[in-house]
């Protein structure tokens, strides 16, 4: 059976994680993983909700050792978790707090119980083992599972490291503002470090001042794994960040001007990573210098009649791009925009048809539609919704929505209207919805 090691290079006393300025070594990690693996129940799938990056990794690795699959819920919305719990009824949860998902049994990931042993062996994991299942919101209203083999996670981590020129001897430390339960966070803040003998900060800083303190709490050289949103916040706040070798940005397009500002202000190099759930990270670019994306080693691009697709040894079949791209040879492409059904709010991708279905399932809603206005200015553009729900208050619909969709997709605002401007075929055009929005704004100005 083909296997790949859980860790890249292994040295027991090398630092893997930094927690409040204290180091946790790779040796202690293997011992923590061994101890937890012995305690895990005999179940095929696990929902790992740990907020602490180190404890998440211990749970993830222990599950791998036991041949189990980690589920990555699309959001923390109670409804989304309950849906996964229903679909994977034989799962259990790993937590580092008090979270509970439906009736699933919960296990605490213990904090540093193991003492490192010199004899610890780095576990070997079969490359075709389904290591994680990530979910996309399909157009059916049901989350669509995408299984990722251990081999594919390792391949993406290694090719990303090669692209960034990472050397084990650098022993770089990652500080990440993104959750490790999302594909990008898992790839860049968990897999990339463990496959290159790197370290990471256990926390997930949010505010610019948090980012500064987290970076200051780990030794140089440092890498910041983040999003355009956090980069803009740090640039706007003119944060005095400690020196970072490079910044990795993903989840939404980063403008060249913002990348330039960040490079100048923080004296660093900004790379963007492009990927999507079905394929994982697949290309990078140095935003200030190039418009085209360069695919990672081992990936090839294909132009087909229906659109573009990509192929790699670790992907079972060619995967079509969800975004509009044009190819520049087999290894480079230019991104032109999103497919019309996809929305991206603050780095969270959603499907409009999925959101619409959930809206229309709410009791009392007769007709309703989500709408993404044209982007203006620099702040995050939010969805709005038009809803026909006689006798219902907007608050009632909002609180029902809150239980089934990611809070980032909650409409802002939700307009209650007598009817939607559907055309004779029942379709709602963007023009008609824009017209409706303008009308509502006009009414507001006139105070009617």
């Amino acid at each position: 059976m083909n296997t790949a090691a859980l860790l890249g290079p292994y040295h027991a006393d090398r630092v893997l994680a930094w927690e409040n300025g204290s180091p946790i070594t790779y040796g202690r990690f293997l011992s923590d993983v061994g101890a937890l693996a012995d305690l895990l129940p005999e179940k095929p799938t696990v929902i790992n909700l740990a907020d602490d990056r180190y404890r998440f990794l211990v749970g993830f690795a222990a599950a791998l050792v036991r041949g189990q699959t980690t589920l990555l819920p699309p959001s923390r919305a109670p409804g989304a978790l309950a849906q996964i719990a229903r679909d994977y009824g034989t799962s259990y949860c790993l937590v580092d707090g008090t979270e509970q998902v439906g009736q699933l049994p919960s296990y605490q990931i213990p904090k540093g119980t193991g003492s490192p042993t010199d004899t610890a062996k780095v576990p070997q994991i079969p490359i075709d083992h389904p290591a994680v299942v990530a979910f996309t919101s399909g157009s059916t209203g049901h989350p669509h599972p995408h299984s990722k083999t251990w081999g594919s996670l390792v391949a993406v981590a290694r090719s990303t490291g090669t692209r960034l020129g990472l050397k084990t001897s650098d022993h770089m430390t990652v500080v990440a503002t993104v959750p490790h339960q999302h594909m990008y966070g898992l790839e860049a803040s968990i897999m990339l470090p463990i496959q290159h003998g790197m370290a990471f900060h256990v926390g997930r800083p949010l505010f610019p001042e948090d980012v500064r303190l987290a970076l200051a709490g780990v030794p140089s050289p440092r890498m910041l794994v983040t999003t355009p949103l956090h980069i803009r916040a740090c640039v706007t706040a003119r944060s005095r960040l400690p020196h970072v070798e490079c910044i990795l940005s993903a989840t939404a397009p980063l403008s060249r001007s913002l990348a330039k500002q960040a490079e100048t202000l923080f004296q660093t190099t900004v790379y963007e990573v492009y990927g999507f759930t079905e394929a994982g990270s697949l290309a990078t670019r140095r935003t200030v210098a190039e418009n085209a994306w360069h695919v990672l080693d081992g990936i090839t691009l294909h132009q087909e009649s229906a659109g573009c697709s990509l192929q790699a040894l670790y992907l079972r079949e060619p995967i079509p791009f969800p975004d509009l791209v044009s190819l520049q040879g087999p290894h480079r492409f230019v991104l032109h925009g999103r497919g019309t059904d996809l929305v991206n709010i603050g780095g969270h991708r959603g499907s409009l048809s999925d959101l619409n279905q959930k809206l229309n399932e709410i009791e009392g809603v007769q007709d309703g539609v989500f709408f993404l206005p044209d982007e203006t200015g620099t702040s995050v553009t939010r969805l709005i919704a038009f809803v026909v729900a006689p006798g219902k208050a907007a608050e009632h619909i909002l609180s029902a929505l809150r239980t089934v969709i990611d809070p980032l997709f909650l409409p802002r605002p939700l307009h209650l209207v007598p009817h939607l401007p559907r055309n004779e075929t029942g379709k709602l055009t963007r023009e008609a919805l824009l017209g409706l929005l303008q009308e509502l704004h006009k009414e507001e100005r006139h105070g009617t």
Partner: protein, 88 residues
Amino acid sequence: MSDVSSLEAEVAKLIVRTLTLKVDPAQIQPEEPLFGDGLGLDSIDALELSLAISQFYGHQIRSDDPDTVATFASLRSLCQSIEKHRTK
């Protein structure tokens, strides 16, 4: 203690303007939760709001500050934190 101070009125306007909310600033109850069930704000809002607060009041909000959860609990607690830390 339900009187709205002038700082609270000012910050309420800042919240509504920064986050393009469809609420009358005067309707934001000083003790009402800003996140979750109250105004229903999320982490992107927290980030946007923290930027506006640092620009207007010179107060850099951080989440490992033991007070942060309390800071964002309500308009009133946010204003108390601004009052304490403001440099502008």
